[in-house]
Every structure is written in structure tokens, then in C-alpha cells.
């Protein structure tokens, strides 16, 4: 014990260690960051996670494939639909089921709506992290409109559980097209307001420009995907590189920046909302006719083998890796969750910045804690 005390260097003695979390307003959940400070400057950040580790991967080993879907809702609850889709795509790939166009288009539309609502909530909470409380309410107000669309078609607001292997649970609601069109019209008018309130603001520029720079090499090496990675110039959009569902039929551009600081991670997400609206507008008028689900066997058994499917959630690349031994339960399911990987870069990019910047950087990485813990 005494020797340990002696080993502490003079530099370490001056460190001021604070615990951010598990209950802290800016960690958006039960993330605990042990932050070593010198004055107000961050020396190191050690994430301590596992406060809501539910063992989803273990649970998946004892349930059937359709039952896995409702668990994936609860990983990244903001892109619940995209997580569902990832599992369904893996199962369909394994069974080599041909999916009709209508299902593909429905899934794409829903994914893009999910992406917009996720980015809206991110914008809301990011504004709040920086102290602009009004952003929070504007973001939630607009998100509510998408959740209403979800509720009408899927029955759930956030945890939709809308996908099932071979299609979707229900057909689109008759009001769906009109409501989505109304929303796009509304949101095209509202989104510039977001820019006026936060993006153009001089205080926001000061707070975000040059903060938490992540170079392209580091982004690839740390595996930072999603808008956070693309802000550093890492072209990692799975929708472009390995199109699934109806993404090969729509035109959209991958938002890429090279600066990789908090400001450009922010701008990348705002731009993605515009792109998502473009994708929706291309598809909403041409939803093909057809069945909304392919008839599957009552008990789905995957042939023996290993299957890997990547999808682009609102936060990055979600990988679903299923090892099947031919039973109705998977042998092993692994989710490559984007948040978990993005969190690992936090220590690297927040060194040397102030504690207020740590909050901004954490906000700009857009972490969802249940997805980290799984």
C-alpha cells in the first residue's frame, strides 16, 4: 500500500479526477466517464460501461430468429427499425429468400424516417449539451411528427418491431404516403431554422470548430463509422458501398468532409437529414404494389453456416454476425454496434481540451448507451 502511494508522480498528484456519470445530464444514459483533469483540461477519459448490460447476445442464443428482432429494438433504440432490418436481412440472406420490391421500398422509407428522427433527437440533445435548451424542444417537437407516422403504421412509436423475416408486420397505413409528404414539406421549412438557431451562431462556432479533431487515419484505425467517421473523410456509408434494400435504386450523395472536428460532425448529420429527405421523396410516390411479406415457414431454421450483414444505422455501421448450427436458435449472434466502437475514440480525441469540450465531443459522437452495453 505504501509503495503504491510513493509511485504516484508529481504530475499525477495534481490530477483532479471526477466521475461523469452514471447519472449525469450530458451522458445521455448510464455512461460513466472517469475524467482526469489538470485545472479544467482533460488529461484522460476512461469510459466505464456495463450499467445496462443485458446480455442480448446471450439471450439471442436461446430464442428463435423472429424473437431476436424485438431485442434489437432495445439496443440502439433510436434506430430501432434499422436494427430490425439488419437481423431480417441476415436471415433472408441465409435462407436465400427473394424479397419483393414493395418490401424493400417500405424498409428503405422506414429506415430513412428513422434516420431523420434519430438525427433530430441528436440535434436536440447536442444543443442541450452546449447549453441551448431551446434546441431540445424544437428537436423533440419535430421528431414527434415522425413518431406519429410510425405509430400509425407500426403500432409502436420508438420500439417499432416492424420487421419480420420475409417482410414487414403490417401493410403501410393508407395515410402513410400523405403524412410523409406533409412531414417532408414541413421539415424542409423547419430545418433552416435549426441552422439559424445553432449552426450559424457565433458561440456555437467557437464551441465546436477545431474541437476534438479526428484524422482520417485515426478514424479508420479506430473504426469510427457513421456521420462521425464521414466528417473525417472516411467513406464508410454502407448504403453506398454495399447497397441493401432499395438503396441501389435511389440517388443520394455520401456526405464527406475532411476536417473531422465537432463542427463537421454536426454539419454531416444536418446534411444527412437533407439527403434522407431526398431519398424519401424519390421513393414515396413510387411504392410498388405487391405483398408486404413473403410467406415464411412457421419455424425458421437457418442452414448451417456463418452470415454477416452490414447496415448503416443513424450512428454508423451495424454488423450482424450469426453462426447457425442448423437449429431454430442461433449458435452465436454478435452485433458489431457502432456506438461501442465510436466510444473507444473518445479518449483519443478529447485529450487536451476543456471539460466543456468533452461534453461537446461526447455529444457530437452521438452515443446511445444501450447500444454500447447491449
Amino acid at each position: 500500500m505504501e509503495e503504491q502511494v510513493k509511485n504516484i508522480t508529481a504530475d499525477e498528484q495534481q490530477e483532479y479526477v471526477i466521475n461523469m456519470g452514471p447519472q449525469h445530464p450530458s451522458t445521455h444514459g448510464v455512461l460513466r466517464l472517469v475524467v482526469s483533469l489538470k485545472g479544467e483540461t482533460v488529461k484522460s477519459v476512461q469510459p466505464h460501461i456495463g450499467y445496462i448490460h443485458r446480455g442480448i447476445e446471450k439471450m439471442c442464443e436461446s430464442i428463435t430468429y423472429p424473437q431476436i428482432i424485438h431485442l434489437t429494438d432495445r439496443m440502439d433504440y433510436l434506430s430501432a427499425h434499422i436494427n430490425n432490418e439488419a437481423v431480417c436481412l441476415t436471415v433472408e440472406k441465409a435462407l436465400q429468400v427473394e424479397i419483393p420490391d414493395r418490401i424493400k421500398v417500405i424498409r428503405t422509407l422506414m429506415s430513412e424516417l428513422t434516420r431523420i428522427q434519430s438525427h433530430q433527437l441528436w440535434w436536440a440533445s447536442f444543443g442541450m449539451d452546449l447549453g441551448g435548451l431551446t434546441c431540445f424542444f424544437y428537436g423533440l417537437r419535430d421528431r414527434e411528427k415522425i413518431l406519429d407516422i410510425f405509430e400509425e403504421t407500426c403500432g409502436g412509436r420508438m420500439l417499432v418491431s416492424y420487421n419480420c423475416p420475409g417482410g414487414v408486420m403490417y401493410d403501410l397505413h393508407p395515410n402513410f404516403q400523405q403524412k410523409v409528404k406533409d412531414f417532408i414539406k414541413y421539415f424542409r421549412k423547419i430545418l433552416p431554422e435549426y441552422d439559424q438557431l445553432l449552426t450559424g451562431n457565433v458561440i456555437f462556432h467557437e464551441r465546436s470548430k477545431g474541437i476534438g479533431k479526428l484524422s482520417l487515419e485515426d478514424a479508420i484505425s479506430y473504426g469510427v463509422t457513421g456521420p462521425s467517421g464521414r466528417a473525417s473523410g472516411f467513406s464508410c456509408d454502407v448504403r453506398k458501398h454495399e447497397p441493401y434494400s432499395a438503396y441501389d435504386k435511389v440517388q443520394f450523395k455520401e456526405i464527406l468532409f475532411t476536417e473531422g472536428d465537432t463542427y463537421f460532425r454536426y454539419v454531416a448529420r444536418i446534411q444527412e437529414m437533407w439527403e434522407s429527405m431526398n431519398i424519401i421523396e424519390q421513393l414515396i410516390d413510387n411504392i410498388p404494389e405487391g405483398p408486404y411479406a413473403v410467406k415464411m415457414k412457421p419455424v425458421i431454421k437457418l442452414p448451417e453456416g456463418e452470415y454477416y450483414q452490414r447496415v448503416e444505422t443513424a450512428r454508423g455501421e451495424l454488423g450482424v454476425y450469426i453462426i447457425s448450427d442448423g437449429n431454430k436458435n442461433p449458435y452465436r449472434v454478435k452485433f458489431r454496434s457502432p456506438n461501442f466502437v465510436n466510444l473507444s475514440v473518445l479518449n483519443h480525441i478529447s485529450k487536451g481540451f476543456k471539460i466543456a469540450d468533452l461534453v461537446a465531443i461526447g455529444g457530437s459522437l452521438d452515443l446511445v448507451i444501450p447500444d454500447i452495453d447491449r
Binding site: Q67, H70, T134, G155, V202
Partner: protein, 159 residues
């Protein structure tokens, strides 16, 4: 000289961007018609949920107190959380045959994750989703519900 001009420019554009932001909040302040708040418990009467809303699992009964549940147990197998338990009994039908029928269809609302697998897979469409969403109770035992009403019977023609 240039640095002074830049300095003044910086101040000018900074203040301008702040005023643009204030315009947004100010315009909402003077337009109370844009308020989106719902006065929730007061608007219970005209609060209508969407018909697909997943409030709770119910078993629709007709006016003769009949339901469609045959007690096959597919919902119980499909439920990922074990929130459905079926207790069946053996009854004698009118023509003297012994038949399995449902005694109690127990539903644990507290464990339900609303994945819709039970409703979706039910072969006789006996289950549906109810619109009720105010589930708060003081005792956890109250969340365990029996879905078939007392004295109810299987609807004619449903196998």
C-alpha cells in the same frame, strides 16, 4: 489597420448571427398558435389512439361472451419473454367428445415487450391489441391479467 477591420467585422457578424438566432425564438414567442403542448389528462376524452397502436394484448369477445381462443399454445411458444401462460382444461362437447379447451389465458403485462408475435401468429386471430395505454398500477400483481372473461366460451365454428 486590416486587423482592426477584421476585428470589427468579427464583432459585426458575430452580433448578426446572434440576432438571427434571437429572431427564431422571438418569433415563436409572439406566435402562441404554434404551441404543441397537449394538456394530457384533461384531453382524455378526445384523445384517440391510432387503431394499430400496441397498448396491451386483449382477447376480443363478442356480445355472447364468446372468444376465438382454442388454447393451442402457439402464442405461448412464440412469446420471447414468457409473458403468456395458457392453462387448459378438458371439456366434453355436446356430442360427447372430450376436447381440450382454454381455462385461463394469463397475460403478464409487466413482462410484455409488444413485439406483436403472439397476435401475428395466432392461427384463429383470437388476440388483438387494445388501445388502452394507462397501465400504471400500485401493485405489480395487478399487471397479471386473465384475458378470457369468466364464463366465456369458444366461438362456434372456430377450430
Amino acid at each position: 489597420m486590416r486587423s482592426i477591420i477584421n476585428y470589427l467585422k468579427e464583432i459585426f457578424f458575430g452580433v448578426k448571427s446572434l440576432l438571427v438566432g434571437m429572431k427564431v425564438t422571438g418569433s415563436y414567442f409572439f406566435r402562441p398558435s404554434t404551441i404543441v403542448t397537449q394538456k394530457y389528462p384533461n384531453n382524455r376524452k378526445d384523445l384517440v389512439m391510432f387503431d394499430r397502436f400496441k397498448g396491451e394484448v386483449i382477447m376480443p369477445h363478442n356480445e355472447k361472451n364468446e372468444h376465438k381462443c382454442t388454447g393451442c399454445g402457439i402464442c405461448e411458444i412464440n412469446c420471447p419473454n414468457g409473458s403468456i401462460e395458457i392453462i387448459s382444461k378438458t371439456i366434453t362437447t355436446e356430442d360427447g367428445k372430450k376436447k381440450k379447451a382454454i381455462d385461463k389465458h394469463i397475460y403478464h403485462l409487466g413482462m410484455c415487450t409488444f413485439c406483436a408475435l403472439c397476435v401475428k401468429t395466432c392461427p384463429s386471430n383470437a388476440l388483438a391489441f387494445g388501445q388502452k395505454f394507462e397501465h400504471a398500477v400500485f401493485n405489480r400483481a395487478l399487471l397479471t391479467k386473465t384475458l378470457n372473461k369468466p364464463g366465456s366460451q369458444l366461438m362456434k365454428g372456430v377450430e
